[in-house]
């Protein structure tokens, strides 16, 4: 790493944070909105940034955009140091959709995009194309004050796509979108990823991200409490898998003694023909092999959800007592 803000030649990460902290106030009232965050997002990755309200997600975005300066640490976008001499150029390749999007009510959709395109140095011809891409070409000449929340959000997304950005920062992007719009939105993200665009999405709708992200960064109380792919985070989890069984009562009655050989497996009967098993991750395959020999009617395996993982990993950083205080 060079000490100046010039772009190092072999910079493979689209976004990089090194020991970044942002504090508000001073002395006893010091609020650590972000504390000691190290993060690297490789080019073309879709990173999900998750955390509770006030965990530091929006602060992290503002730091990356250069809207606020870090109290400690350094950040690079596309190899350019945030706030450094070349950062204006880097900003042209950066798209941002804020959490609370506010547009100009008196402008129409097309005028809005043109205004932002001028400031971003993007070709004006792109505006009409982008309106079409987000499904707003029919409303391009209507004033934004007549737009629904979902339409505004789409227009905001089109704004973020001006200038064909290489890094997109989307803060709670699906707020206010209906299910079909959410599907369209993620389909568009897939197309962007195919073009090699790096995406950072914050959300607290964890189920939405679970199937879609390459990696997750979990923030809790300003600290990065976990980072990795969903599979990697599952590996780290100590939460048991949950197995649901359906079989004749006689088959279920005979099962517990056979499972006694598997330590840590917890058996629970949920009715005459139903049962549940909590099983440590390490014993998943031995358990399934034991069950395979049984004449079962149905079997389902439930991995810990992203939400389970989030609560588990977050508790590892901040004890629940402290949070309540």
């Amino acid at each position: 790493m060079t000490s100046n803000s010039a772009r190092p030649a072999d910079f493979a990460d689209a976004l990089r944070l090194q020991g970044v902290a942002r504090h508000y106030g001073r002395g006893g009232a010091l609020l650590k909105a972000l504390d000691g965050v190290d993060l690297a997002v490789p080019r073309g990755q879709l990173l999900g940034l998750i955390g509770h309200n006030g965990a530091g997600k929006s602060t992290l975005f503002k730091l990356v955009l250069g809207l606020i300066a870090p109290s400690q640490g350094r950040l690079w976008v596309d190899g350019c140091e945030v706030g450094g001499r070349h950062f204006r150029e880097a900003r042209r390749r950066l798209g941002y959709l804020p959490e609370n999007l506010v547009l100009y009510d008196n402008l129409d959709g097309l005028e809005t995009l043109r205004f932002f395109a001028r400031l971003k140095g993007a070709p004006l011809a792109q505006c009409a194309t982008l309106l079409e891409e987000v499904g707003l070409s029919h409303a391009g000449r209507r004033p934004v004050r007549e737009y629904s929340k979902g339409m505004r959000q789409r227009l905001g997304f089109a704004q973020a796509l001006l200038g064909e950005p290489q890094l997109l920062l989307l803060d709670e992007p699906t707020t206010g979108l209906d299910p079909s719009a959410i599907r369209d939105f993620y389909a568009q993200l897939d197309r962007l990823r195919q073009r090699g665009v790096t995406l950072v999405i914050s959300s607290h709708i964890l189920a939405e991200l679970e199937q879609r992200v390459d990696a997750l960064a979990m923030l809790s109380h300003g600290r990065l409490c976990a980072q990795g792919s969903v599979a990697e985070l599952r590996e780290r989890s100590t939460r048991p898998l949950h197995v649901r069984l359906q079989a004749d009562a006689a088959v279920l009655d005979a099962l517990p003694p056979q499972l006694a050989a598997l330590p840590g497996v917890v058996w629970r009967r949920d009715g005459a023909q139903r049962a549940g098993i909590d099983c440590p991750r390490a014993l998943k395959m031995p358990l399934l092999q034991a069950l395979a020999a049984q004449p079962l009617v149905d079997l389902g395996v439930q991995e810990p959800t992203l939400e389970d993982l989030y609560f588990e990993l977050r508790e590892a950083v901040v004890p629940p007592m402290q949070e309540a205080a």
Partner: protein, 279 residues
Amino acid sequence: MKDGLQPRQIAAVAAKEFSDRLRNRWVLAVALVFTVFSLAITYFGSAAQGQIGPRSIEATIASLVSLVIYLIPLIALLLGFDAIVGERERGSLDLLLALPITRLELLLGKYLGLAAALALSTLAGFALVAALLWHRFGMGGLYHYGGFVVSSVLLGLAFLSLALLLSVLARDRTRASGLAIALWFALVLVFDLLLLGLLVASGGELGGLLGGDGFAYLLLLNPADVFRILNVFSLDDMARLYGLASVVPPALGNPWLMGGAMLAWIAAPLALAGWRFKP
């Protein structure tokens, strides 16, 4: 971002501000207000002397100065107080500043766009009286009237600059609007009264303390007074129409000095706003 100012970014913001004011008919409304008031004053200003219509260029300008000194600062402050704090409070400022534009470029763009709207409405608003005076007194009188109109525009620009400073400093829109009204009250209504009161209360000693005419230089601390002096001294026989003229030393009659003072009143608050415009 430590690179230089980019005029293209300033122009993009200025163009939006200007076209917003055209589109919501702000320019038209203010131009109409100026037109109606200036025509009324020109026509009926001498009614007390039993005459309808412009008596002389000097008298007309003297009456218009009294109008402009109240109206333009108020209009400029109301135009500008919301410029930055409004974007901040509504939440659109972050989105703007995430683009490749610096805070100073945004501030200058806002200022220039609003300044263009204010200047256009002022020029348009006083155009009809200009035509009237030209018809009545010919080209000679228009020279002085032109000076009055230009100084009116400068007065507006100075108060607009102050408004943007308030807009940068204020925490929210309510405070900004309160400060704008308070500033108008202080500079337009209270300042002269206070100055005069101090002079009288000190039995003229305060004037002596500041070295003869020194007291009069305190008038430079108020752009509204700079405007008044500019117009009072632009006409040889107008000085006597104003009681104020008798306390103003001749040095202050130099239009270049006063023009410079006005430009300083435009530049200084804007520079301060640029310096104080922080995240």
